[in-house]
Symmetry: C3
Subunit: 318 residues, 3 copies
């Protein structure tokens, strides 16, 4: 089957979504990221792997948080980084996305980190660039945000290396989540035998069971004996919508409280992609508690992004 | 005659406009740019010519596209780059342009890349800086955008080295173009014997013939047997104005279509400064066709900007 | 007494305000800055002291001018610099300041330069970071802007090394000034025997005399025989307020004119933190005159910021 992320030699050319990534490549990225965790702990947090390369953060939608993680990763690889907020410039002058991209390629850009409000934007760009250019999807509509999925897998593997023995619960707004679908695929690919989703009916996609997950509408039942709790962010724009009665009621029914956490295994870890809505999907004492690995997720996110960029840029030794 | 761009030794201190540049300096810049074309094709696209220098992109008007080209050029020369969007800060606090510039000089800035909506802004700044500081005009009102003119000359020389044998047509909104006037001067300086302008009467400056060009109001006649077609961008703000009936009608009369292109010489090249309005001044199949050198213009634009910065910064070997 | 700026060994961990800094540390910073003045005069204006470190400009309030000074200083120390304009991103997504900071620490940020419209913001962040992270206050509400205070002390010491012999006047809107209070403390700490404040009653804080200053409401009397005149900026937002009759009247009563300047000692220096309101608090001929050290203040500001960052980052030799 044609895979738009791989080149003719079966190597990763673009990172567009976790779906469709063979287990071999998924594992290669996670293994490479192990090396980059160490780079951030050195006195001089820099390696020369992308020296003289130009990385373009091509953001059609503003996201300081995501842009920052890629900017840090690229700079620690010694790349030159260009931040392009396209919504406010060329696009308003009527230039097409492809003209913008082709101009940057003509300037010898090497890598694009693309954020766009529309699903498929990064795929579209990847289809049109020459073989020596790489595209990383940094979030496209509701579709995918693969480095988030990868850093979650990395974090789980760090804390729970025996992945074929795990029970994982994904909790919250699965319907609108950029990452939930990717997580499910990645967990299955890496051999996790039991994946649960816990959500109200209104925040679940149709036929979610077909992805091979167990569906719970009751938080207490869903959390029972799990090893990993992956909380999802409740998007602000949903909060006042018709899908939810109120954020207070959401917290009462699906918020992760210290009491509910005791239903999981005693050594269960708690994850969240950030930014958190404290008191909406997660209680502050859980977010900051000893089972939380939310900040390690951020740390590993830099290592995973460095690994992806290094692999796409042609080198992967730290 | 006093030339504000040259220092007491007759060397280039500022790049403000192509008008007034002696042929010797024009040729020096184009020759230096030849070396920098190669830098962008290296594995590590960096040379240390401006290492430890501070280049300020001083933009009083937003232009991500232009800023990006200078930022890439400066970073590949190893300079430290500061992006200053002045419209939103000091200016609104009532500080004068000269106070802003003098502050940056006091911080030991070495070079200013200036973009301003008013004609003459870069000249004004250049008049007030000390001899070790250089100013590059990156577009001032309708007046000048000299690096665009230079990269166009570089591109023509690359594809048509026998410039004393060329027939060149400049097509479109000559009246409002930042570059058309500079192009005419540069082409004449470099020895191009026949320069045509093709435009409706409403988009031509008064007495344009005095610049030594042949004027055509008919596209088919104007394109006949030319070697180089330089399309101009139709500014969005003109499109709905009284000067033009409609963009469709403009395309029918002055748009570059594949049929019209056949009127030029078979090996004629097509140029456009970007961003293009596809279907307004140029047909997509021409823009992307085999005679188009629009993307090479962008590539050469980086080399030319590196050459200008290197010369102003005191070194020009790549 | 507990000092939030010093670590357990009595070394500077954060720079939050000049108040509370022992004379020893104040002098150490000024002495270190002497070395960095020379760095900016070198052919290659860079030293590797912060190579591989990540400095975050965390600006909750826009200030291109202040951000620029820290960005230049950090880049000349070879740090990687991240510019984060937080008002427009995570904060609007409901994330707390501490979550933002903790995320950046998880990404191995080393230093935060914090600008916030609320007094105490930098202190608040400093209280919550681990011992290997440093916070620099780049302006919090009306409270403090310590690098401005330090560069003023550096400038005075440069021009008037015998500080125990000086008469210094601080003129203008003392009430709303971020720096006036710090200046008074710093001048007293460094042994200046006579400190005057000159202002209308409406622009003076209550009980200002308790700080050990002499209060003048008459400009001519206050300037008599002073060695140093420190003008304050009249904030735009005050100009149309009830506290002032008009900017013209302010200039007539408290503006620094060439005539008034003659009342001070013939070798008196004139200072201003910028951006200046020419014709409001200071006459242009004075601002640009031979007694003005306003641009040297800007130059020394880079050196002082380099010194602070180098000391906080663990090295201080230039």
């Amino acid at each position: 089957m044609y895979n738009p992320q791989l080149n003719a030699q079966g190597q990763l050319q673009h990172l567009l979504s976790i779906e469709g990534l063979p287990k071999r490549i998924l594992t290669d990225i996670l293994d490479a990221a192990e090396n980059f965790v160490g780079v951030a702990e050195r006195e001089i947090k820099k390696v020369p792997l992308l020296r003289g390369k130009t990385v373009c953060n091509l953001f059609f939608e503003n996201s300081t948080r995501t842009r920052t993680t890629f900017e840090i990763a690229a700079k620690r690889l010694s790349a030159d980084v260009l931040n392009l907020n396209v919504s406010t410039s060329s696009q308003s002058k009527g230039e097409t996305i492809l003209d913008t991209v082709n101009n940057l390629i003509a300037m010898h850009a090497d890598m694009f980190v693309v954020r766009h409000q529309q699903s498929g934007a990064a795929h579209f760009i990847a289809q049109h660039v020459p073989p020596h250019i790489s595209v990383i999807n940094a979030g496209d509509g509701r579709h995918a945000h693969p480095t988030q999925g990868l850093l979650d897998m990395f974090t789980i593997r760090k804390y729970k290396p025996e992945m074929h023995n795990l029970r994982v619960a994904i909790v919250g707004d699965v319907l609108h989540s950029r990452v939930a679908r990717s997580e499910i695929h990645a967990l299955a690919t890496l051999g996790v035998p039991e994946i649960r989703v816990i959500a109200p009916r209104t925040l679940l996609p149709a036929e979610v069971e077909k992805l091979g997950v167990q569906v719970y509408h009751n938080m207490d039942q869903g959390l029972k004996d799990v090893d990993v709790i992956m909380m999802l962010r409740l998007q602000n724009e949903r909060m006042s919508g018709a899908l939810l009665p109120s954020t207070q009621e959401f917290f009462q029914t699906f918020g992760l409280t210290p009491e509910r956490l005791t239903l999981a295994r005693p050594d269960a870890i708690v994850m969240h992609p950030g930014p958190m809505n404290r008191g909406v999907e997660i209680d502050s004492s859980v977010a900051d508690g000893k089972q939380s690995v939310i900040l390690p997720q951020v740390t590993y996110g830099i290592a995973v992004r460095m690994a992806v960029m290094a692999i796409l840029g042609g080198g992967n030794a730290a």
